[in-house]
């Protein structure tokens, strides 16, 4: 810390003023340098809209702040954009749910390491009378194939979102291409999860949704969860500290503190404790859920 009280051994006013200006300048420099190590400046986390919309951050971040004094700003955008933001060094932490991109991010040197934090899952919902006959199957690929072969209404996000990509991967696993049926039984809403669920509800059709959106969806009508639990429906989240060697201004220490907290027993218990309508939305990956 700067000693701002240095004295000038002169009576001349100009010299005193110059000395004061110099003292202020040096003090200002010291504050700027000291700020990086003194009270927290906070960090920016690049994450996704679905994670933000679940309310998880509103629940977790005050707990983290209480434990560490570090303020967290979340920039919630699509997965691809979150990765670009982190690649540009405009975030200190990347928290998304796209393992292939995350591994590439680290392999390309933009991130220090990929830390699995939590997962939730996707579920296939559809009409209670289940014309495709898929209720209870543990095989999502077989279920989609049934829907396709029986030409039952399926509503897709159709918006190049992470959920849409997941859905296309699953059609791939089913070795069934729905695109020729676009507009017929395969309906592309081109919208977010809420609108897509509304279309599925109105048409009594099938759709793939993340569980959190389903839990908070208020217009379920005849729709129920028909397929869940296939490991291909897992939606794993990981946290990555942006590499300060690539972007020196990154608050690496505080960013690492955030990631460390997320994967600590406290962080993992907090993730497990988050409920919407009494339902757990995220499942910790590091530590078994703490019994209360």
């Amino acid at each position: 810390m700067i000693d701002a009280s240095f004295r000038v051994c002169t009576g001349m006013p100009q010299l005193r003023r110059a000395a004061r200006q110099l003292a202020l300048f040096v003090a200002g420099l010291a504050l700027a340098a000291g700020a990086a190590h003194a009270e927290t400046q906070g960090i920016t986390v690049a994450s996704t809209t679905s994670t933000q919309n679940s309310g998880l951050f509103d629940y977790l971040l005050p707990k983290f702040a209480a434990d560490t004094g570090i303020e967290v700003r979340v920039v919630a955008v699509g997965t691809g954009q979150a990765i670009r933001i982190a690649t540009n060094g405009d975030a200190d932490v990347l928290l998304v749910h796209h393992p292939a991109s995350e591994r590439k991010f680290v392999a390309d040197g933009f991130g220090l390491a990929r830390h699995p934090v939590m997962h939730n899952d996707f579920v296939l919902v559809g009409p209670a009378d289940d014309p495709a006959g898929i209720r209870g199957t543990g095989d999502i690929a077989a279920a989609l194939r049934s829907i396709g072969e029986r030409e039952q209404v399926f509503v897709s996000r159709g918006d190049d979102s992470g959920t849409h990509k997941k859905e296309l991967e699953l059609w791939g696993a089913a070795a069934f291409d729905p695109s020729p049926a676009s507009g017929a039984w395969y309906r592309e809403s081109g919208s977010g999860m809420g609108a897509t669920l509304n279309v599925a509800s109105a048409m009594a059709g099938y759709t793939l949704t993340d569980r959190a959106s389903w839990v908070s969806f208020g217009n379920k009508g005849e729709l129920e969860i028909l397929v869940e639990g296939d490991t291909r429906l897992h939606n794993p989240y990981a946290a990555i500290v942006v590499n300060p060697d690539r972007h020196p201004h990154v608050h690496a220490g505080e960013a690492q503190a955030f990631v460390d907290w997320l994967i600590s027993a406290r962080g993992q218990a907090a993730i497990a404790a988050y409920r919407v309508d009494g339902q757990q939305l995220f499942f910790p990956d590091v530590v078994a859920a703490v019994e209360d």
Partner: protein, 258 residues
Amino acid sequence: MVDEAHRAEDRSEVRLGSSDDHPLLPLVARGLQFGINGRRIINDVSFWIGSSGRTVILGPNGAGKSVMLRLCHGLLQPTSGEIRWGELSVARAREQQAMASQHPVLLRRTVTGNLLHVLRVKGVPKAERQALVDAALQQAGLAGLGSRAARTLSGGQQQRLAIARAFVLKPAVLLLDEPTANLDPAAVRGVEELIGAIGAAGTKILMTTHDIAQARRLAADVMFLNDGRLLEHAPAAEFFTAPKDPAAARFLAGELPD
């Protein structure tokens, strides 16, 4: 706190860039025809491969599997019909692919020399080459054999070297034509383990085999080819338990000529 304005639930997420997805998928073929001297070898084949899992083209000898693979890799041109890898033509996509066939074609060099040659030809900076070679040898179970003459390796080792050489440039797609056809069971296992590791790392594997048991072990999805026609394309679980095509069912029961 959220810097971006709270997005309405209805707002779409931003499109993932192509570098985030598999750049060469889906592989789409429409109406492929290929013939030589008036003989139809590939007959009106259309398919869609959208998954990054291991796709196995299965069928009896003479079905046209090797020709199918060569058409996908651009080594042969179809008489008619089209193939695209994602947004790319076959010719463009080939730069991101590597192929290894049934008989490993190794250079008259050491094991290391075979790998270095590929890296040199592709212009990989000299400083990076040795690390890539070491990693490839490790992955292929050939660590310590670097200075052996490649052609003195056993059949299984040669095939693993050929595959490692195909993979050392980290292609997006690895095409394998009957990779274990000439190998004893222990060697087959070694090669299959290597294929599994490569696929698990994210490379799309497209391979041919006439060996049903091998297809069962490796396939995420199966394309059944017989007499130049694609008769069925299904997830492995479904294909092996309840094939829809009668010729596929006969083949699985051992009744089609091998």
